[in-house]
Symmetry: C2
Subunit: 143 residues, 2 copies
């Protein structure tokens, strides 16, 4: 989660909403990414998507059933769907997201009967730091 | 939808689940894509994601509020989330997908109170041909 939090900080520094993610396999980081939709002109470029795609590219396969995903914010529906498609084993996330989250909020994607893959889910990891990054970012933009 | 159906046929020819998508702006196709997670080693490489990402790249912006998406199958949660993030104006899709769909099935993403953007939605366009492509594909794989 340290790497994901650092990536989130880097995102804030370039004006992106500060969210970071890391894919971990056998205790080693395979890929780390920061949220970058504005920079990349890509509406799908959330940190989770970029980290999952990069890990799949590096491992040369579309399924990451031996990998865990660490992300600083509760994933949205798009990212939750990608986590299921990638067959991620464990999902660790920081702050909950009542507005855009799709794990414990909104569509509660993994609780749907049609969900074809549910990772083990651990919430609240690094929550304080992840939340502070987001609050500071939005406070600065409003001010 | 013709272009999306042709892309779906092309996907089947290389062993991918036959789904195709096109992004259209002012009556002209901006991007067409076929489902390609196996070919690209990318669990997020659904036809909708590839078409949205390519259109955003071509137009040089992360929001496609003046674009429509045509896709042969009901989008999953990942793709529905991407459609919302991209601010797609209208969604036209072919066959419904009771197993993986997230528009009229499962999470019903666009009907969630937390959904921040809902396109106009038109279902059943080209449904017969889209469904036949999928049925033939899965019948052949089982046989």
């Amino acid at each position: 989660m340290r790497a994901a939090l650092d990536a989130a900080g880097a995102a804030a520094a370039v004006g992106e909403v500060p969210v970071g993610a890391a894919v971990v396999r056998d205790g080693a980081i395979v890929a780390v990414a920061a949220n970058a939709p504005r920079t990349l002109h890509d509406p799908t470029a959330h940190a989770e998507m970029l980290a999952i795609r990069e890990a799949a590219r590096i491992l040369g396969r579309e399924r990451l059933e031996d990998c865990d995903l660490w992300v600083t914010l509760e994933p949205c529906a798009m990212c939750a769907g990608a986590i299921a498609h990638a067959r991620i084993a464990r999902l660790y996330y920081g702050a909950g997201d009542p507005k855009g989250g799709a794990v414990e909020h909104g569509p509660r994607f993994f609780a749907q009967p049609t969900c074809h893959h549910r990772p083990e889910i651990y919430a609240g990891i690094g929550e304080a730091e992840a939340g502070t990054l987001l609050r500071d970012f939005f406070r600065e933009r409003r001010g």
